[in-house]
Symmetry: C2
Subunit: 317 residues, 2 copies
């Protein structure tokens, strides 16, 4: 099922189910996570006539770093004198919290952020980038103090979206030691307009994890077979697949809650940039151009696509 929140002819937000080129109106609401599943079908609206809104209020937004190829590429670029992967990388799915309040629906214009690009140098980012990611939306909360067992983690997932985790590489580079990304990421994160429930995704065996994860993260590795592409101004600049990811969402949830942290409905867990082994499979400009640029220019439009998740679109202004 593909569920979104839409507005029709300037009316109030309604929850709708996408069915081909029509949206079936399931009634008023501002979140696909409300109890809309039992609602009878309402009138149909052509998809071309609706304005998509954010499909659910985002509770906490977590961005993981679960592509081995992406983490390796960034390690090579920024810590050339060291092992590309930090010592923790293969032992836990590294992640950090992002800004939930600036997650926007695909189609929203992205204003180029300002920030400190180096000491004393404040101005518009000159290294604005996209990041091709998948996101998982929590539907079923968990209780504080009660870690979610990895084998039950998927029961908490409502569905999936595409995520463009826009990044200002120059702002990020100056700020991120020692407490991680902040303003380099927090200006905007775009998600695709509808949430696709998990049953519509194709689960396939995941890559081999070496070493075998600790007991609380141990589960037969799996991934979702979602062919992905990045289109920049009408030209496909990268093609990859979500099945390349090293850590799976069940492990991410087990890790996130292993310290007793709770989940809320509306939590958004993004995978981190998805890259593949080949040069043409890289999910960000910093990797595609090996930090040489060009980065995003004003007016550039980025479209991330991956069926059955649809697309997430954004233009830089």
């Amino acid at each position: 099922m593909k569920l979104g929140v839409f507005r029709h002819r300037g009316g109030e937000p309604h929850v709708g189910r996408l069915d081909g080129d029509v949206v079936i109106d399931l009634g008023p609401g501002d979140s696909v996570l409300s109890r809309v599943l039992d609602s009878g079908d309402g009138p149909e609206v052509p998809v071309s006539a609706v304005q998509w809104l954010l499909p659910f209020p985002v509770a906490d937004y977590v961005d993981f770093y679960s592509s081995l190829e992406h983490a390796t590429n960034l390690g090579r670029m920024f810590r050339a004198d060291q092992e590309p992967l930090t010592p923790n990388w293969r032992h836990l799915p590294i992640g950090y919290h992002g800004r939930a309040g600036t997650v926007v629906v695909g189609g929203t214009e992205i204003r180029r952020p300002h920030g400190q690009r180096k000491v004393g140098d404040f101005g518009p980012s000159q290294k604005l980038d996209f990041e091709l990611e998948l996101g998982f939306v929590i539907g079923k909360p968990s209780r504080r103090g009660e870690p979610v067992p990895v084998e039950h983690a998927l029961e908490h997932v409502f569905g999936s979206v595409l995520v463009n985790d826009w990044s200002a590489r120059d702002i990020q580079a100056f700020e991120y030691v020692p407490l991680g990304p902040f303003l380099g990421k927090s200006f905007a994160t775009s998600i695709s307009p509808w949430v696709t429930t998990l049953d519509e995704l194709t689960s396939v065996p995941g890559v081999e994890q070496d070493p075998v994860p600790l007991a609380h993260l141990r589960i037969e590795n799996f991934a979702y077979d979602i062919p992905l592409e990045v289109e920049l101004n009408g030209e496909v600049v990268s093609r990859t697949n979500a099945r390349n990811l090293y850590w799976n969402v069940a492990q991410q949830i087990a890790h996130l809650t292993s310290n007793g942290a709770s989940l809320r409905a509306g939590d958004l867990l993004a995978t981190g940039t998805i890259s593949g082994a080949d040069e043409r499979e890289r999910g960000s400009l910093i990797e595609l151009t090996w930090n040489e640029g060009p980065f995003l220019q004003d007016g550039d439009e980025v479209v991330l696509r991956g069926e059955p998740l649809g697309e997430v679109r954004g233009r830089v202004v």
Copy 2:
């Protein structure tokens, strides 16, 4: 004004104004940020008879790192071969996003978190710590894409709370490179039960900032004169003052929004651990014991105090 959300005799949440040893009932509600200020006074309830609840739903939680002494102490401990302050520290108020969904009201029991303490070693944290912080609560939102000028930043602040940003130092040490703290912090953050509006705080000149901050962060430095103490199992182990902070909350807001990020009502901005120049003015056990411990034991009770903000209490279980 001191506002909180309370429950009386198992009833529904009400918003209340603290007045000495009574709470004046302002009517049903789960957030002090709702429009309660114009409400007439309702019945009085003895403060001893109420159960405090979380005073507002936390939107985004940001933890800054704004004490020069704290940042210097941690730099000395963990990066002994380098300058204690990272090159960015004096040029912007470093911060990162924390987990909004695990902010709890003072008095809530804190379960010792589990996590990876080093490679392959998962178990209860052996370095559980408190952090003495102040928090500022956003009452007036701002729009995405419109940075808040530093001279108008205080207009967005509703009031202040005390914050105990519980930290598992061993979990944090293993995970935090390169994307910052995650599970070492996300299990729980305690805030004091009532929010004290800004007009009740005493503003004083702040420390000299060297170098002079960039234009968008430039404002005559100020701080709040709030004497603070940490009590561990009935014994005061640290005394300091919020006036020691290097960066002020107006600068934190101007920085946070400088890239176009918006504020929401309910955003919580914490200062980071507040330490002073003297050894007895350190706001965490890792500093007080210079990472030798002892850290918090099961059953330990930590109380942070600072008038007029009251106290935030938590027992480790």
